[in-house]
Assembly symmetry: C2
Homo-oligomer: 221 residues x 2
């Protein structure tokens, strides 16, 4: 990027101040025995729909809370509120990602109820959220396979930093030109330890494996 | 966004310095009788595929050049190079959008050949590129309808600032829950003057209208 030395300095300060606040959040989560995960994906990859399909099964055994990150609307939080769990919307007002300060501000909402699992859905963006630690235990990518199998190589930072990737809209595979073998190969080339799930949120396929993995992560936390 | 006064100041300086350089680019385009357009959309919305389908027909009457914006790879420029037209890749090296200085630096590439239409494909991101004027005549959005009909309301800035939106992957309409009536209504509520095209790049449907509109824009420029 074309940046003056002053801009680079400010960006470095911004990231370092974000990291410090993220550590505070991380301590909070640990103290409260809460696994926090940061869910990242392009607009329309199916992040909120994945939550809608996942929550009813998680709620059987766990106390779950949700933070919805969005630029302007509360559309996603309204959808999640139907599940009668603690949910809060953060509007970034134009900002392209959540940061650790925004998250810290809303944490008291979950204090009273207590949550075992806090799902933070980031702003729909495959680039900027990758750089901002929120204090989460790990990041999860949601990628719609309709976006194409070239996406891991084109957006490697987020694939390098995530613990799991949910490949969504598998029901559309036969109707697109996506090559799932290339997709998996490229993802594992960037991050050999990443866990890959193939699901169709719309049809309900493949969700059990993802949900039982997530439950196990909460149990191990 | 949570920003200190210093960060806000630097962001304002960055945007104002970008705008000044954009004006220089705009003057260059005008002087060279070149219509420059800035194509913006999420990862996998189909921006490069739209170019691949559009170029063969545009090239019959026009001299076309392409700038490909990407974070790391030259995958998109490699695809466009097959059409034997002047194309240059800009890698932002992590940056989430093109800016007017990056574009200015590569303009000499097109000097010798001369182009009537310069298509600038931005980084796959529906948020950040909306704020950075590159000196283009206008912006075009590419939105995959598979992303869902809630996207215009969730990402209004880019819809407010664009002259046209290409709704791509229409061949998948019946297999998704997208409501095209809501989609069109929300787009026009944000920007009543925007031109809407419904296409399937994969099947080739609806492309003629888009291409003849673009040709007319070049003729009117």
């Amino acid at each position: 990027m074309e940046s003056s030395r002053r801009e680079i300095e400010v960006m470095a300060n911004l990231l370092s101040s974000n990291d410090m606040q993220a550590d505070v959040n991380r301590t909070y989560f640990r103290k409260n025995h809460c696994l926090a995960i940061n869910v990242i994906g392009s607009p329309g990859s199916g992040k909120t729909t994945l939550l809608e399909k996942t929550l009813p099964l998680l709620m059987l055994n766990l106390r779950v809370g949700v933070i919805e990150g969005d630029i302007f609307t509360s559309k996603d939080a309204d959808r999640i509120a139907a599940y009668n769990i603690p949910v809060i919307q953060i509007n970034t007002g134009g900002g392209c990602h959540l940061d650790s300060k925004m998250v810290n501000k809303v944490l008291p909402v979950f204090d009273e109820k207590g949550v075992d699992l806090l799902i933070i859905e980031n702003v729909g963006n495959l680039v900027c959220p990758a750089d901002f630690d929120l204090g989460e235990a790990f990041k999860v990518i949601v990628l719609s396979i309709v976006e194409g199998d070239d996406k891991p190589a084109k957006y490697p930072v987020i694939f390098r930093n995530a613990k799991a990737v949910v490949l969504n809209k598998m029901d559309l595979e036969a109707l697109t030109d996506v090559n799932m073998e290339n997709m998996r190969r490229d993802i594992l080339a960037i991050n050999p330890d990443i866990k890959i799930f193939e699901v169709s949120c719309r049809k309900g396929n493949g969700l059990e494996e993802w949900i039982s993995w997530l439950k196990q992560e909460v149990a191990n936390a």
